[in-house]
């Protein structure tokens, strides 16, 4: 029986939840960065970018910890590739958030007041998408305990639908913002950088949606 103990490998699902939390910590920094961009506070931006890099690095460490638990010798209750994909997409969310922070430090931007509100709205929406995703991912460990079925699974499926819906909303916001900034009176470099920032923001939401879809596959498949 002592040998049977070794039969139960350590679960990859709890560290996966840890990773998801860390990734959301990265995304949560998006809002203060957006505020600092509008305020044109370069000092603050550099600080935030530094903090972002640190958090993203910690998320990477957690990611490696999960990866270490995924060799073929373990028999998992979900498709291994789905799980690896989940992790990869989650990692991209953190990467996009870091890119956003880095791009923000390239040049001092002075955004015209007309786009301020829309820019903040987009940032908020993206953070909300990530938050909704975290809300889903946090259930992963519990889902495993309940064999990926039951009321908990139904609940999670609904929440994933919400994430997808919010991603669509963030897309709408970014389009609206794009129509605005391509037509405003500002220098080309500002518009270019703003476009880059927006692209990073929507990319966060995109990848968050992918994570949700991956989780859906994990619940359904097999």
């Amino acid at each position: 029986m002592r040998n049977l103990l070794a039969l139960f490998g350590s679960s990859p699902f709890e560290p996966l939840v840890e990773h998801a939390k860390k990734v959301h910590e990265c995304v949560a920094l998006v809002r203060p960065i957006a505020e600092a961009i509008i305020a044109g506070d370069e000092q603050r931006l550099r600080e935030l970018q530094h903090q972002m890099s640190k958090t993203e690095y910690e998320a990477d460490l957690l990611k490696d910890k999960v990866r270490a638990k995924l060799p073929r010798r373990y028999f998992l209750p979900v498709d291994r590739d789905d799980l690896a994909d989940f992790l990869r997409q989650m990692d991209r969310v953190a990467d996009d958030a870091e890119d956003f922070a880095v791009v923000a430090t390239f040049r001092k931007l002075s955004l015209p007041a007309e786009v301020h509100q829309e820019f903040l709205d987009l940032a908020d929406k993206v953070v909300a998408v990530s938050e909704a995703l975290l809300n889903v991912a946090e259930h992963l460990a519990q889902l495993q305990k309940e064999a990926f079925s039951g009321p908990e699974a139904t609940d999670v499926m609904e929440k994933i639908q919400q994430v997808c819906h919010m991603e669509w909303e963030s897309d709408k916001l970014s389009r609206k913002l794009a129509r605005h900034y391509y037509n405003m009176n500002a220098d080309t470099v500002t518009i270019m950088l703003l476009e880059k920032l927006c692209r990073n923001l929507t990319s966060i939401a995109d990848h968050a949606e992918n994570v949700g879809k991956n989780l859906r596959l994990m619940i359904l498949r097999k």
């Binding site: 002592r2 040998n3 490998g9 373990y74 028999f75 305990k145 990926f148």
Partner: protein, 418 residues
């Protein structure tokens, strides 16, 4: 004089084997119950003691008969029966030695495989491969493959049913209150049937199937009703929040798991006592009763089964508690619903095999059952490498214990000059 010495050695070796079985394998049955806090160590010793002993005493005879007289044909030994007795002694010693060596290198080894290998080993050396009942051996070998598969399939079905019917339902707690008595009555039905149907003739327990079923089914029904009533009395009708339901269901199953633990102990006693008592019975028949021929047909005496049962309980009480504690502390992955599914499947498979006189490895069946629950998405990560290692040690155990038994047998012959 020499015969008396051999007899004493045989009894000691038999006792040691049974002690070993009690010390190492009872954790299979109760490790999870201790881990979940459903039982204390002292309660486990009492329950496991009662059920290991009853299993060994009431159902142990079939497998013991197989090991004693079903694997090696006894006719070639007529005229020199003491050879047969010495061989059985050599088998006991070989299995005991190999178990110790394997445990030292922390290899998962099955007592069953060791003893069967050893019996074949001495048979081949004593009277050539012709005296081994290969058809019977084929059946046994097949049962070694089929029993883990059966355990796995049953565990899969049971766990899937629990998930579908209880956990997935809109009222999981309500469904659990139905499922738990059902599980209990299933256990009661199978155990009663196994004891009564072709049971011990001396206790007049060898009833035909119809009569046995006529007693077992009402007993199961009574267990169901009693359990339902007990649950009705103990539950307050309060609303349970969604998040808590899962925990409440698991708590109900953790109570049921105490029953399946006893069931496991019963089945384990029934099958594994033979590993010690089967060869010992052969020795005793020859050394003590000075039998001229090896009587294949005489069943192993209940007294000997009781001896084996007591030795198992001693092993459990002296060393098994440590193993159970160690296992219980670490085994958090197995929640009560999973533990119930795996244990129910294992115990049922082992008990059926015991009735058929097939010596199988309880641990192997349990591994199969764990895998079954795993396929039903029950576990976070099952280490397939460990399964491979268990399989490998199974493969090497048989030739090694056979060679050991052959060596010891020849040594005994040399020393005694026969």
């Amino acid at each position: 004089m020499t015969l008396t010495i051999l007899l004493i050695i045989a009894v000691a070796a038999g006792f040691y084997m049974a002690w070993n079985i009690g010390a190492n394998d009872v954790a299979n049955a109760f490790g999870t119950s201790v881990g979940s806090g459903a039982l204390t160590i002292r309660q486990v010793v009492i329950l496991a003691g009662i059920f290991e002993f009853s299993g060994a005493f009431l159902v142990g005879t079939n497998v013991a008969d197989t090991i004693k007289g079903g694997i090696i044909a006894t006719e070639p030994f007529s005229g020199s029966v003491e050879l047969f007795g010495m061989g059985m002694l050599a088998a006991l010693l070989a299995a005991a030695i190999w178990l110790n060596v394997a445990t030292y290198f922390s290899q998962p080894v099955s007592t069953t495989h060791a003893i069967i290998g050893a019996v074949i080993g001495f048979g081949v050396v004593a009277r050539g491969p012709g005296c081994v009942a290969w058809t019977k051996m084929g059946t046994i070998a097949a049962s070694w493959v089929i029993s883990p598969l059966a355990g796995g399939i049953i565990a899969y079905i049971v766990y899937k049913c629990i998930v579908r019917v209880v956990l997935n339902s809109r009222h999981p707690v309500y469904m659990a209150r139905m499922a738990v008595p059902l599980g209990l009555s299933g256990v009661v039905c199978i155990v009663v049937l196994s004891v009564l149907y072709r049971g011990l003739p001396r206790l007049r327990l060898d009833l035909p199937l119809g009569v046995a079923a006529a007693i077992a089914l009402p007993a199961a029904a009574a267990a169901y009703v009693a359990c339902r009533a007990a649950i009705q009395i103990r539950t307050r009708n309060r609303r349970i929040r969604l998040a808590e339901r899962y925990i409440v269901v698991e708590r109900w199953f953790s109570r049921l798991q105490v029953v399946t633990g006893c069931y496991m102990a019963f089945a384990h006693g029934a099958n594994d006592v033979a590993n010690a008592v089967g060869p010992l019975a052969g020795c005793i028949q020859i050394f003590r009763e000075h039998a001229d021929t090896v009587a294949t047909k005489t069943p192993v005496s209940p007294l000997l089964l009781a001896f084996g049962g007591v030795a198992i309980v001693v092993g459990l009480a002296t060393y098994g508690t440590k193993v159970i504690e160690a296992v219980g502390r670490k085994i958090t992955e197995v929640t009560p619903t999973r533990g119930f599914s795996a244990e129910f499947a294992t115990a049922s498979t082992v008990l059926v095999c015991s009735k058929m006189g097939l010596p199988i490895s309880t641990t192997f069946v349990l591994v199969g059952a764990v895998m079954g629950v795993g396929i039903a998405r029950g576990f976070a990560a099952i280490d397939l490498k460990v399964i491979r290692r268990i399989f490998a040690s199974w493969l090497i155990t048989i030739p090694i214990s056979a060679a050991l038994a052959a060596g010891i047998f020849m040594l005994l012959r040399l020393v005694l000059g026969t």
